[in-house]
């Protein structure tokens, strides 16, 4: 097993942990955090492929990771805003109780 495969395996494990959290938790905020974890594992892949690629002196992987982190930050802010609005409407963040579209 090469070290590139080690990084890719770690990234796959992080993605699966985030997916498990997003699929099994009831708290909407923790579900959003799980989605952030999945985005993070994609960033780890960008950096690992950049470092082990043939031309690490080009900045492509770093730029991709920086822009991806910015998009993830914007997504977190909007997602938490939506959760706050839904909480104000239904008085809960429990996803099993948020089961009606019209309230």
């Amino acid at each position: 097993m090469s070290s590139l495969q080690g990084y890719l395996l770690l990234s796959a494990l992080l993605f699966s942990i985030g997916l498990a959290g997003a699929l099994t938790r009831r708290n909407a905020i923790i579900v959003l955090v799980g989605i952030e974890l999945m985005l993070n594992s994609a960033n780890l892949n960008f950096i690992a492929f950049w470092r082990f690629g043939p031309h690490p002196e080009h900045l492509t992987g770093i730029m991709f990771a920086i822009f991806s982190i910015s998009v993830a930050a914007a997504e977190a802010a909007v997602g938490l805003g939506i959760i706050l609005a839904a909480y104000r409407h239904s008085k809960t963040t429990d996803l099993d109780q948020m089961n009606s579209l019209k309230g």
């Binding site: 770690l10 699929l23 938790r25 993070n40 770093i62």
Partner: protein, 165 residues
């Protein structure tokens, strides 16, 4: 496969697994900061210093604090403790384990055995130069996106009830 990578990998996986498994939501976010810091340390180990420090500032500094604020604003102290896991947790766990099995098999059979090239010498000045020349259009679009997301988040989270009365 160095000892430093193994230590960081164990720390990261332990932090993120605790973040997805603990009952108390605030404890989850605290464990999550450990996982995010572990990922940042792995970026540093991969010679991507700028991305590692950005990760610490954005994720450990901003996203975790934002999540803690959201948890505190949505907690009701009188309510009884709801269950941690949803009713279909078994299906979700099986799906996640299946995804990991497929990914791990694809990675291990891919034959990606390239050794790392020589350590690239990348200064922050180089990153700034290319952000201002080659990547200036994506940078401007990102600024627009962040502004729109900021305004949108404030408008969505604002309480509209008093205006309608």
């Amino acid at each position: 496969m160095t000892v430093a990578f193994l230590i960081l990998a164990v720390l990261t996986v332990a932090g993120t697994a605790a973040a997805m498994g603990l009952r108390n939501a605030v404890h989850c976010v605290l464990a999550l900061t450990v996982g995010f810091a572990g990922v940042a340390a792995i970026y540093l180990q991969l010679d991507a210093q700028f991305v590692g420090l950005t990760q610490i500032m954005v994720y450990v500094g901003a996203v975790a604090i934002l999540a803690v604020f959201a948890i505190m604003m949505t907690q009701r102290p009188t309510a009884e403790k709801p269950a941690t896991y949803s009713s279909f947790w078994l299906t979700g766990s099986v799906i996640a384990a299946g995804v990991f099995a497929v990914l791990a098999r694809a990675i291990l059979t891919s034959g990606a055995t390239t050794a790392a090239p020589a350590e690239p010498q990348i200064s922050v000045q180089q990153i700034g130069d290319s952000l201002m020349h080659q990547y200036v259009l994506p940078l401007e679009i990102m600024g627009l996106l962040l502004t729109a997301a900021l305004i949108g988040a404030v408008v969505i989270a604002m309480d509209h009830r008093e205006e309608s009365k």
